[in-house]
């Protein structure tokens, strides 16, 4: 089976074609922001010659569309109708967008405490339309436990007007708690939905231009894919898919897909550190952060640090201690070897012949100046830079693990016997990885692997990604109620007395399968329970019920690329 992966980046659009587990072609064209279809098509064209199948080609697209729309603030003007109930005042949240507050409230168990008021909704709508709002987000506190208010408001809106291009309901985006994040996620989702709809139109046009293209999937921040149709309702999930694509590329290409590993992507300006535990990527605790908004969008964990091939190199001479080097966090600019004016780690690598790029003499000149400030010769100064870079990198990796290990836990067993997340393997990618990963591996006493530096690792990652989806089931047998917010479901538990963990798990798996079906997943074996908890509810010394929370997920898996085929590597031009 053939799969084409295309990563639409800020500068370039990369393409890769994989057949089963082999990369058979890669290509690259400049991204045309004025005509994304045109450049996406051009990228596809570069690899199509290698496509010799008869079955339709599956296309996996990673785009920066939503990310850019949000970062540049170009989303549709969006009104937010919120039902906050008691608690923290919304004015304290620094959301960065205005919110219409409606009365009504739901408590932590999803019980309605106070209903909504129709005339308030109407007034908010009038104000929104007056202000020229094109999209709408409707968000209630605890709506993941009871979405009734959101649904009622939606019905009132639809009765009153059809003018909004898009309406997002908070509970459909995530089953996780966090009202401010639900607000932000819904606001962003509603704002980018318009652009996403245009994009989906374009992709569909691309599909019918006489090519044998079958299913089209979009890459998400969690490294999984979603269908085109699903992306119309949940476009916000496609944010930050570029970094996810690179990481999925690394997971597809590594020789160490099992077990614990740290994945380090060293670029020009920054280095991204990601973590794999027992073969699975680690996720952000609550969700992605974008343009200052904290969201509930599931995302791969990555710690980004200001350390890279083009980082600034400074000599720090404190009054009360010996001089030392400091690399980053600022970017110096183009390395001297490549025509820049400032010394960079890349120049040190060039001087020591660890990288063969640019003009060695220019690199030597830059390093000589640095050496003079340190009282060192050229080679010694270059070695000092490489050594310092490695030290800082190792420290940042260590800090990443310290941070992950200090993430709060709420049970005694987790506190006393924490999961072993420490890496056994150091996997590096990015231009400077060749230079620094072996050194860091040695310093950390880890097996290391530098992935051959495909220009198109991200496109390969996109091609190798598989669908992901999660559902959250919350069952409260005292109320006799089950909710699965992502599926818009709230129903009764029949025979609450007999509802136990086994039943809860089975029901969650069933919902996940139903969700999976819509994504083209047929095997139940791909579904796993990621989190579960249950509590006895005691009132007045009597057990009155149980609460269950189950999170079932279609596993974020990646196709293994076992043969690297004709990928074009960057060995020849070490580049950040």
């Amino acid at each position: 089976m053939y799969i084409a992966g295309i990563d639409v980046g800020g500068t370039n659009t990369d393409a890769a074609l994989i057949k089963d587990d082999v990369v058979v072609a890669t290509g690259k064209v400049p991204t045309r922001h004025d005509d994304l279809v045109e450049s996406t098509e051009a990228a596809l064209e570069t690899i199509l010659a290698a496509y010799q199948g008869s079955a339709p080609l599956e296309l996996h697209l990673s785009t920066t569309l939503s990310t850019n729309t949000i970062v540049e603030g170009r989303g549709d003007p969006t009104a937010v109708l919120a039902v906050p109930g008691p608690g923290m005042r919304i004015e304290e949240l620094n959301l960065g967008f205005p919110v219409h507050i409606l009365s009504g409230s739901v408590d932590h168990r999803g019980r309605e405490v106070a209903g909504i008021t129709a005339h308030e909704v109407q007034a908010a709508l009038d104000a929104a339309q007056e202000a020229g709002m094109a999209a709408l987000a409707i968000v209630g506190k605890f709506s993941h436990r009871n979405p009734t208010h959101e649904l009622q408001i939606e019905a009132l809106v639809k009765e009153a007007t059809q003018k909004f291009r898009h309406i997002t309901l908070g509970h459909r985006l995530s089953g996780r708690p966090n009202f401010p994040r639900r607000l932000a996620t819904s606001y962003l989702n509603a704002g980018v939905a318009g652009q996403q709809a245009l994009f989906v139109e374009m992709v569909k046009r691309l599909m019918i231009r006489g090519r044998n293209i079958g299913k089209v999937f979009l890459l998400k921040a969690d490294g999984g894919t979603m269908t085109l149709d699903d992306s119309l309702a949940r476009p916000v999930e496609t944010i930050l898919s570029g970094p996810a694509a690179s990481l999925m590329g690394a997971q597809a290409l590594t020789e160490h897909p099992e077990g614990n590993a740290v994945i380090v992507d060293i670029g020009g300006t920054t280095t991204d550190i990601s973590v794999q535990v027992a073969g699975e990527p680690v996720f952000e605790r609550q969700g992605a952060e974008i343009a200052g908004h904290k969201t509930l969008v599931p995302a791969l964990f990555a710690r980004s640090i200001g350390l890279g091939g083009d980082s600034e190199v400074r000599v720090i001479s404190p009054k009360d201690g010996p001089s030392r080097l400091q690399i980053g966090p600022k970017r110096a600019g183009t390395p001297a070897a490549l025509g820049g004016s400032k010394v960079t780690p890349t120049d040190a690598a060039v001087v020591l012949e660890l990288a063969r790029i640019g003009d060695v003499n220019r690199a030597r000149e830059a390093i000589a100046d640095l050496g003079a400030a340190m009282g060192l010769g050229i080679e010694a100064a270059a070695e000092a830079v490489i050594e310092r870079f490695t030290q800082q990198l190792v420290q940042e990796i260590e800090d990443t693990y310290t941070y992950l290990e200090s993430r709060p836990v709420y049970t005694i067993s987790e506190l006393l016997a924490p999961l072993d997340i420490r890496p056994r393997v150091l996997i590096g990618l990015g231009g400077p990885a060749e230079v620094f990963i072996p050194l860091a591996g040695k310093a950390m006493d880890l097996t290391w692997e530098v992935l051959p530096c495909y220009k198109e690792a991200n496109a390969i990652g996109a091609a190798a990604s598989r669908p992901t989806a999660a559902v959250t089931l919350h069952a409260d047998t005292a109320l006799g109620r089950v909710t699965v917010p992502e599926m818009d479901y709230m129903g009764e538990i029949r025979r609450a007395m007999l509802f136990d963990m086994k039943k809860a798990r089975a029901e969650a798996m069933e919902w996940a399968a139903r969700k999976g079906e819509s994504l083209g997943i047929t095997s139940l074996g791909d579904i796993a329970i990621m989190e579960e908890e249950s509590f006895n509810m005691v009132r007045g010394f009597h057990t009155v019920g149980r609460i269950f929370m189950i999170r079932a997920q279609v596993r974020p898996e990646v196709r293994r690329i076992t043969e690297r085929g004709k990928g074009e590597t960057l060995d020849a031009d070490y580049q950040a």
Partner: protein, 447 residues
Amino acid sequence: MQTTKHKVGLLFFPAFDWAISPDHPEREERLLYTRDQIMEEGLLDVPGIEEFRPEVATDVQINRAHVCVPSVSNVITESHRIAAGGSIVAADLVLTGKVDRSFALLRPPGHHANRIVHGSRGFCTINNEAIMVEHIRHTYGKNLRIAIVDTDAHHADGTQDIFYNDPGILHISLHQDGRTLYPGTGFINERGGPAAYGQTINVPLPPGTGDEGLLYAVRNLVLPILEEFKPDLIINAAGQDNHYTDPLTNMNVTARGYAQLTELLSPDIVVLEGGYSIEGALPYVNAGLLLALAGLDYSAAREPDWSEDRVRQSPRVTETIKEIVGQLQEMWHTRQDVDLAEVFGNAPIFKRHRRIYYDTDNIMEEQVEEIRMCSSCSGWRSIYSGAAQGVSLGLGRTTMIAAVLVPWHACTKCRAEAEAKFQEAERSGRFRHVYLQDVERDIYRRS
């Protein structure tokens, strides 16, 4: 970018896998809805509120505040070590300047745990605040003056016991009148031992006390006393069972009242104590408290079933509170005029005899304590304690122990006498175990 007035460290540890017993108020479910509320409010995303992970308290850290019979590991479980360890982290965060204030929102509680521990009483086994205080004095200076304000609905008898004769500590407990509630102590005449007379202050509040009465006592009594005592650190043992929905008590305090109390008191460290209205109170009280601690607007943190009528305080209750506060103000102002000989006698040793019931474990303890009157220090103490399972002595086998306590700032003479006493008691063969607790030297011996 921090958006709160005060930077707050939160030690949240709900111990979702631990209960005293399945139906006990101190069970897995207790902080479930509090977690749900805190998570849903997004309080952990607020720049300026940061969550930290507890540590596990060591034997030495516990032995500084307690004499555990027969040993630390025999009377506690890991859950107790984590609650104490979390409190210690809460203190470290503030004292190292990482945060301005901290909140140890964890369980099980500790304020009914006395110095001598034979088992659990009032859901408590070891005293989280006391262990924290001794850690603070050990790590950050033995001269630190510390005030503990306990606002749980139950009298903080354990904390009172531990610091009864400690001149470095001011202990104020505001609680529902002991004539109407467990543990039945905490009257205004319990004022501290000879070396710290007047520094134990009990404010028994009548049943039906609401926000108005509690805040009246804080404004007119607690704050002026704190002003005068000038503590280096204020600890609030924040029980939440004064709430109008609490099933175990008869008070009328609201989430907003707790938040106002927190704002007025400006504590450096808050430690959760009791509070068993796990749905109706805790989610809102804890959210309000956290907001108030951070200096954020807490005016919207309110219970769903709150109404003015439901929590109104009766005029009679208001009158009673004014009387008690008036009496206590007078007692505070004249505490130095009291002739201690009249209170404690003229003998070189002051003796007190007590019976202590451990309701959670059904243990009865009989205790004789001897405090040496010393002009150079607060005086060494010996405690003889016998305990047996069963409601009255004689039902089970009685364990007799003796403990010799050397206080902070002990004079040479007192320390030498205490050590001699320890050896003598050891030789006598009368006791199952003899303990020596020398907190300043961090020496804890058991024969």
